[in-house]
Symmetry: none
Subunit: 214 residues, 4 copies
DNA sequence: GATGAATGAGGCTTCATTCAT
DNA sequence: CATGAATGAAGCCTCATTCAT
């Protein structure tokens, strides 16, 4: 609205409040698309509509910008779904299904999915960031799944199974679905339908592949 | 055999023939560890024990080296297991299990696992490579899984299920296990045991989570 | 006097009038400590308690600020002692001693000592400033010494000697004492006592080193 | 000679041996003339006849280049004159004169004089370098002077005087003569004659200013 | 007057690539 | 074939300077 007015008026607009968010958004897009090393700060600034120097008013350097991007998108994701499980009344199967589909919606369909690819790609160069992500997102997210499984095991609804180990396995198809978006889907391979994929996944998860298990 | 020839010519001659392989091996290690952009050709050459100039005698530039590394490790992986399925006599469950465990052994435990991480990380910058990998490794690998599923479905051993969709889901835990090695395992998170993971995975896969599926 | 006026206007008004002085004082400190190029205008403004923009209300640019700092501290130093010599009644030895000790007190112990270091350091980049300092401070200061020497030579108190040449030599230990403060004293070397140094200097100056000069 | 041939032949000449010295020489000139911050590495490289990148083959960064310049010129200066004093047979006056004139010739007339100005100018930014210079050049140089004075005092040739304190004073005129070359002499003030200056200095030093000291 | 967000030229540094030896 | 010195484009970062508020 008045953005246009501001832009007409002078060389730049004063937007101290909005700047960091704009820069982080621009940075996220480019980082996910090109990776850390290939993303030039010039381009980030340009995409955010500011000059190179402006970036340094808000972020000390490239690494800090990167970390800020990750943090910015991780923090709000934490604890968003943690209370669901506590009050859930239905079957464990439905609870687990809820959690898994929720994760796809809260991660896979948001910018956070891009963070995930970033982390995988740059874990070698930014181990602290990877650890932070692992602890705050992966572990806490997995804990939800583990609890739901345990609930089902205890109620006799699920097979006796090591809930922690099962969590790793069960989380994998969701994570892969997320990663696909930023790797193979973008480069020629025909994209798969998340809905069909998720349906197949849940079917397999609950009933297994074999008709009459030995 | 040509050992004798080599011995006559001396160790320098033997090395000469091995140069490209040594360079590719050095490059793979560094690329996996640091990523494409962060890997310096100086270091590759040094690790291979040659000068930087020598590298250019075998590879036109950094990109070609990268592609060669990927191709070098992809090509032999292709077709290694493709005949297994044709002649298999046992149950479809055992066949599928064979294929999945085989994939872990042929990919996850080898250098090829590093390639996978590379592809994910650099898919944005090298779409052709990613596509190549997708088509030649993922798709062909998945085709094996699909065939095994279909075999089981047709024989009535498995539930009626879309084999192609199921393949995506079933392949995911294996791929994630592979990716973990190069992302979270390396940076503080306690590594998981592949054996236990795979056992849990196969249990879940075949019998599902729910005791009496609805 | 104008204190009352200031009080009516409030402390902000008082500060407003003092701004340039505060900026110059801040600039002097930082320039002496860090040198011209290393001193950032941000820091000068911050140290003076104003914004960077304010600095430009009083000084056209960094170079002008630098020149103002130098001028500000040079001008009052000029002519401060020039009348001493005219009316002096005592011996030439005492007069010269007075002048030399006075120079140390008026220069060495004040901020002006920092200017000297600045000039030496930046003479290559600001020749006009160096020349200005040389002409207005060094030359005029030396003229006093020269006159005192000449007075002593004419009165027979001092040896026949070229007073101009002698001035250069005699001024040197004082200048070195000043420069030390900002170079070696600040970095690990144990600082010397100015008083002892000056006493030794005057002893040597007047009686020389040799017991019975040839 | 074959330099010209080399330059005609190709883009560059291979001079691994000579490069560092050429770069150090170029750097010294520019550093003395412009100071540390104002000296651009581009210019150093250009002055040495190489490209910017070549500089980094020999010096890790600007600071290391600076330190190398200083070290390169300090080390050979150390100990050059230290044996003179041991074997000297003549009068202490002549010995001291020898040392002082020798210092002018070994420092003032060489590139080392530029180093001295650099140290003074950059002592604040490179305290370690300043300390190194102080310890290895100033202190050791002064020790020679102190010994000579002590020799004269003990032999009754010189007045009873604190030799260490006297050293500081006596060294000052020589150092100032050296510093002048790079500050006031270069910027408009008429240069003084070192010979006349030194003669006046020695006269004053030995016989003092006063005809009949009190 | 005062502010401080924004700018952008310029310097340091890296590293893929070249080529005389 | 092999070398490694040399190159130079390109990216990160700093900071003097500007100007809308």
């Amino acid at each position: 609205m008045d953005c246009s007015i501001n832009k007409i008026k002078g060389r730049w607009e004063r937007r101290k409040e909005a700047r960091p968010q704009e820069l982080l958004a621009a940075a996220l897009d480019l980082l996910v698309e090109r990776g850390y090393a290939t993303t030039r700060l010039d381009d980030v600034a340009a995409k955010a509509g500011v000059s190179k120097g402006t970036l340094y008013l808000y972020f000390a350097n490239k690494e800090e910008l990167f970390k800020a991007v990750v943090r910015e998108h991780i923090v709000p994701a934490i604890g968003r779904a943690e209370q669901t499980i506590e009050q859930y009344q239905g079957s464990s199967r439905n609870l687990l299904q809820e959690i898994l589909l929720g994760r796809w919606e809260q991660v896979g369909n948001t910018k956070l999915s891009g963070i995930m690819k970033l982390i995988v790609a740059e874990s070698g160069n930014f181990p602290e960031i990877a650890k932070f992500y692992h602890d705050e997102v992966i572990l806490r997210g997995n804990a939800l799944i583990t609890k739901a499984i345990q609930r089902g095991v205890e109620s006799g609804e699920f097979h006796q199974i090591d809930a922690v180990q099962a969590t790793q396995v069960i989380a994998a198809p969701i994570i892969m679905l997320i990663l696909r978006k930023h790797s193979f889907d973008t480069c020629g391979s025909e994209p798969i339908s998340p809905d069909t994929y998720l349906e197949t996944f849940l079917n397999l998860l609950f009933q297994g592949l074999v008709v009459r298990p030995a």
